[in-house]
Amino acid sequence: MAKVLVVTSGKGGVGKTTSTAAMGAALAQAGQKVVVIDFDVGLRNLDLVMGAERRVVFDLINVVQGVAKLPQALIRDKRLENLWLLPASQTKDKEALTEEGVGRIIEELRGTCDWVLCDSPAGIERGAMLAMRFADEAIIVTNPEVSSVRDSDRIIGMLDSKTVRAEKGERVEKHVLIARYDPARAARGEMITIDDILEILATPLLGIIPESQDVLRASNIGSPVTINSPASVAARAYADATKRLLGEKVPMMVPHERKGLINLLLGRRAA
């Protein structure tokens, strides 16, 4: 029985799609059978980040409307054989997304894989609501900025009230993933601190992903960072977060600024 996990945030540009791709790939690398679904109808991105944009034939809306069967629309990843993508439609109207149709797809996937990752669009409209509607767990992606934190708080409130689980009186297990954490700015006190974020959101921390060129590079070449440069700090942070999602105890690493060789030499000379 698959776990349905929504990756959401409220605010746009915080790293939902990047995180969905990276963690979907990391779960697949850990041997889990994973399907990632792009719910951003009209503004699909996950196919690009996953490098599957040239293989899209059918999409989520086609399956919802019964034009295509689910297995026809699922795109298997070329690098990881137990990772699939269900892309969003770029042309259709997002009103075509129905709760009944999404529910049917999720139900079908629950029986066939281990994890269903729903990449939520930004905002709190229909797409975002349907992405979280059937979730068992949620990752709330937050940047260390007040606007992002407040939007996350709003989304957490909705996870606690608008999901099927919440309506049945059950809980959606929630995790905060802090993305685009800039150690240099944090050192200068220019960002809201991790403690403050967690105090405001009152939700357990899943991981801290540093702002990284590796992530941007990976997105541009259509390969999740956990596949493209698994040794990078960001990829390791995603891998750790994934392990925590699977129930492993991994100590939390707060990214810190790495001193360049020159600084190090200067530091030694001064000492």
Binding site: I124, D153, R154, G157, M158, D160, S161, I200, A202
Partner: protein
């Protein structure tokens, strides 16, 4: 040094209270009147159960022994006499019920059969929230106090008819005493509120004293002025 303590004297407290009692006013002939009473008892034997009566003798002129006989006759019918009225105190002896004065007439509704009491829950007068109130959520409870075990997020809103208690940070809006209750207050462990209001008088975050920020505080109304003071 005086270490002895005298026995404390209990103060005797007297309180006034008024009750409603049935008043019997016998008329002559007394025998005929007693037959009326018997007739009433025959129709509804339990009519006087649990209903002590006051005997109003102003319409008749009876001697002390006649009064004593009348009281006995009434008590034989299982009607208890609570007191006497309308008779000179010289006719009242120690064995008789006391003389009452100052009675006022009142309309007595015939006891209607009470509709069976419906099991109604007592109206809730306070609302307890066990989890944080998140941004965008609005809690409206006009019946009384709202208590939040957790924080009230920025962009969240609490509206209460009574006071608001936040065991956490208050970052959103809190409106207390919305039904015109100017004695309502707002308490929180950390004040970072966007807006606080009591009975329509409000203060925004900008007007809040900066030295109070992030500290435990309470807000209350003093006339038309809102006072926000540190708690403890």
């Amino acid at each position: 040094m005086d270490s002895s303590v005298g026995p404390t004297r209990q103060l005797l407290r007297l309180r006034g209270r008024s009750y409603v009692a049935f008043v019997f006013a016998p008329v002559v002939p007394i025998v005929g009147w007693l037959e009326e009473v018997d007739a009433t008892l025959a129709r509804s034997p339990n009519f006087f159960v649990g209903k002590p009566i006051v005997l109003d003798l102003s319409a008749v002129d009876l001697s002390q022994s006649a009064i004593s006989h009348l009281i006995k006759s009434i008590e034989q019918r299982n009607i208890r006499v609570l007191g006497l009225e309308g008779v000179d105190h010289v006719h009242v002896d120690a064995g008789m019920p006391p003389l009452l004065t100052g009675g006022r007439p009142c309309a007595l509704q015939p006891a209607e059969p009470q509709p069976p009491k419906r099991e109604t829950k007592p109206q809730e007068t306070s609302l307890l929230l066990d989890s944080p109130v998140r941004s965008g959520q609005s809690v409206i409870f006009t019946e009384g106090d709202v208590t939040v075990l957790g924080s009230v997020g920025s962009g969240a809103e609490i509206v209460a008819g009574g006071s608001i208690h936040v065991y956490g940070a208050l970052r959103g809006r809190a409106m207390a005493g919305v039904n015109g209750n100017s004695s309502a207050r707002i308490y929180c462990q950390k004040i970072e509120a966007e807006l606080i209001a009591i009975d329509g008088y409000y203060q925004t975050a900008e007007e809040l004293d900066g030295s109070l920020r992030s500290k435990p505080a309470q807000a209350r109304l003093e006339g038309k002025i809102m006072r926000v003071t540190p708690l403890n």
